[in-house]
């Protein structure tokens, strides 16, 4: 080793022995247990609850949760590994795992009280409970601060009324609600008088948003529309959740009143990063499939790999996948799960990786020709799944907006 140090042994994809072991476990788990069920659950649009529990048994639902609550206490790199690996085979299942472990459990871990963490995290880590995050409403998505669901203080409870839609894990099947959800709702500042309230409501001024833990079984909390016939991610269950004057105990409020926006912000980096990681898995599989096919398939007397246009699909997809992968893992390495500071890069990873994955899946279909269009060959499923990542958890346009704003505020990002 030279005196300047040798950076070659450092493995960005598995920086510690624990990451390397996790990589091995994921590889085996995906090959033996995820892959055999993936096509079938996409076709039947069913969430595989048994597989979810099995992932819990292996510890894959709690990688970032503290060890004292049944998690593994690992970092963003480990969370990326899980979402990436599952998505090489079953992005729909991966989305359910992500919504549960990152949008829900990790959020509670960072923003919840000691009591709430103790109540929720062990059940979430083991897979006994399945949870989700309720941000989007029928009339409000990107513009989340304009949400309409309300939480009104009434003695020891808050009464929550409103509707949330497109909620991943909202149900586990047609009849069964998920177990526990973080719900963002507008709370009125207690000091405000009637006149003030009316003025606020009428103006476009942001409301005070608070976060609540709402559990299955609370009166007035029910499963609304079950979204069927989604373009992709069919192995995850997407539903509307209805809150009809649901009395939620005040101790289920996370943090203080009005801290909801802060909670959202704190969780954004890891959410975007893991969604970007899903794109990596989709692209990796797409490249594998197209390379195998291009080597085997013959046309005009030679493997189609020898045609320049096919080479372009293969090489461009490969190079783009590798670049995005390096970017995602590098940001993962730098993210502090209990702090912030990688906002700009987290947005950028999702912006770049999601579009890359869609192109890679599309290229794979093109390389496979007619077979690419058939379900059996997997890539058409990945292509449908890839599209969601340009919408869910922040649309491309939202990332454009955030990135441009951050760069204007903080041009030093461009200088080192």
């Amino acid at each position: 080793m030279s005196s300047t140090g040798d950076a070659r042994p450092f493995d960005l994809l598995a920086p510690t022995p624990e990451h390397a072991l996790l990589q091995g476990t994921l590889r085996e788990f995906v090959a033996r247990e995820v892959e055999p069920q993936a096509n079938e659950h996409d076709r039947s649009e069913r969430f595989n609850h048994a597989l979810f529990r099995r992932a819990g048994e292996l510890g894959l639902l709690g990688v970032t949760l503290p060890e004292e609550y049944g998690g593994a206490g690992l970092d963003a790199v480990a969370a990326v590994q899980v979402c990436e690996a599952l998505s090489t085979s079953d992005p729909g299942f991966a989305l359910s795992v992500l919504a549960h472990s990152i949008l829900f459990a990790h959020n509670v871990s960072v923003n919840g009280s000691e009591l709430q963490r103790k109540h929720v995290l062990p059940r979430a880590a083991s897979g006994e409970w399945i949870g989700g995050l309720c941000m989007t409403e029928p009339e409000v998505g990107t513009d989340v601060l304009a949400l309409r669901t309300t939480a009104k203080r009434d003695g020891d409870v808050y009464r929550i009324t409103g509707r949330k839609t497109f909620i991943t894990n909202g149900g586990v099947d047609e009849k069964t609600l998920g177990d526990c959800f973080i719900v963002y709702a507008a709370t009125e500042p207690e000091r405000s008088e009637g006149g003030e309230r009316a003025r606020r409501r009428a103006s476009s001024e942001p409301k005070a948003i608070s976060s609540f833990l709402v559990e299955k079984g609370m009166p007035g909390f029910s499963l609304g529309q079950k979204w069927k016939d989604k373009a992709g991610m069919r192995a995850s269950f997407t539903a509307e959740l209805v809150f009809d004057d649901v009395p939620v105990p005040a101790e289920n409020r996370m943090g203080e009143e009005g801290e909801g926006t802060l909670h959202m912000m704190r969780n954004l980096e890891i959410e975007r990063l893991t969604l970007a990681a899903m794109s990596l898995g989709i692209a990796q599989r797409s490249v594998q499939v197209m390379v195998d096919y291009a080597n085997d398939r013959k046309a005009f007397g030679k493997p189609i790999r020898e045609f320049g246009q096919i080479q372009r699909y293969v090489a461009e997809s490969f190079a783009e996948w590798r670049s995005a992968r390096t970017f995602v893992y590098d940001v993962a390495r730098r993210i502090d799960l209990h702090g912030s500071g990688q906002r700009l890069d987290a947005d950028a990873t999702k912006l770049v990786a999601t579009q890359m994955a869609k192109r890679a899946a599309d290229a794979a279909m093109q390389v496979l020709g007619g077979y690419g269009y058939m379900g059996e060959y997997v890539v058409s499923r990945l292509w449908r799944d890839a599209k969601l990542l340009e919408i869910g958890g922040g649309t491309l346009e939202a990332h454009h907006k955030n990135i441009s704003r951050e760069l204007a505020r903080n041009p030093s990002m461009l200088r080192d």
Binding site: E18, T25, L60
Partner: protein
């Protein structure tokens, strides 16, 4: 009960293998390694016994450079209790006997009731180390186990030619080499992975084991002279047609060459 499992790290089954510059071994830089598949089954057999019998200790032993730590950690993550890593350049180039001597020295210090090893390694394919180790230790052994039971004594079904099975019973201490496919190898859960962090890997040198000068390349009785890919055969002729036609052509060829 104490079980010792011998594991070797070998190039991953998917790794692309090229001969090194000196033409004596494969080029090992930048390839992935894994636990020898036969040894994975050996480890699984040991862990299944541990699951059944409380108080069983599983010690994994491996010889090799720093990278071998990764395989030992994998074994610890899967549930082994301790690891011994013989990490010493002086062990490099050992033949099967050298390897068996090193493992025997470790076994003497550990005095296990049972030793598991893979039937052979995926790279060397010699199938010699296990039996040599048992011989050096003076304990009974059997090879190519496809199933394993312990009810007091050890009962092993072993694979013979042509799909026949033989049942062997051994008293402990003994050594069993395992065939692939004997069991479904588990993977490390995250709990196992995190627990492995705290499990000890005991690093030893050849001198620590009292074997200075007795193992390694200089002591080896078998040396690899040359490793190469055979040149592509020339003059091969592929016969085509229906089965009858091909057989007819083949017989014609054989007659033509005066081989009949």
């Amino acid at each position: 009960m104490k079980i010792m499992v011998c594991i070797k790290q070998v190039p991953h089954q998917d790794a692309r293998l090229d001969v090194n510059g000196a033409g004596t071994w494969i080029q090992e830089e930048n390839i992935k390694f894994e636990i020898n598949p036969y040894d994975q089954n050996a480890l699984e057999a040991a862990l299944q016994l541990k699951d059944k019998e409380a108080g069983t200790e599983v010690v994994v032993v491996s010889i090799g450079p720093e990278r071998v730590t990764q395989s030992l950690r994998t074994a610890l993550g899967m549930g082994a209790d301790r690891a011994v890593h013989v990490k010493d350049g002086a062990a490099d180039g050992s033949d099967s006997l050298g390897t068996a001597k090193i493992l025997a020295a470790v076994a003497k210090a550990e005095s296990p009731d049972l030793i598991f090893a893979g039937f052979m390694s995926d790279d060397g394919n010699l199938a010699a180390t296990g039996p040599m180790l048992a011989t050096l230790l003076g304990i009974p052994h059997t090879t190519t186990a496809v199933s394993f039971q312990k009810n007091g004594a050890i009962q092993v079904e072993r694979e013979l030619e042509g799909g026949a099975l033989e049942v062997v019973e051994l008293n402990t201490p003994c050594l069993v080499t395992t065939q692939t496919g004997m069991n479904q190898v588990r993977y490390a859960s995250l709990k196992g992975i995190m627990a492995a962090k705290k499990k000890p890997i005991d690093v030893k040198t050849v001198a620590d084991l009292g074997l200075a000068g007795q193992v390694g390349a200089d002591a080896a009785k078998i040396k690899i002279e040359k490793l190469y890919t055979p040149p592509k055969g020339q003059g091969a002729e592929i016969l085509s047609g229906s089965v009858d036609e091909v057989v007819g052509k083949l017989v014609g060829k054989i007659k033509e060459l005066g081989l009949l």
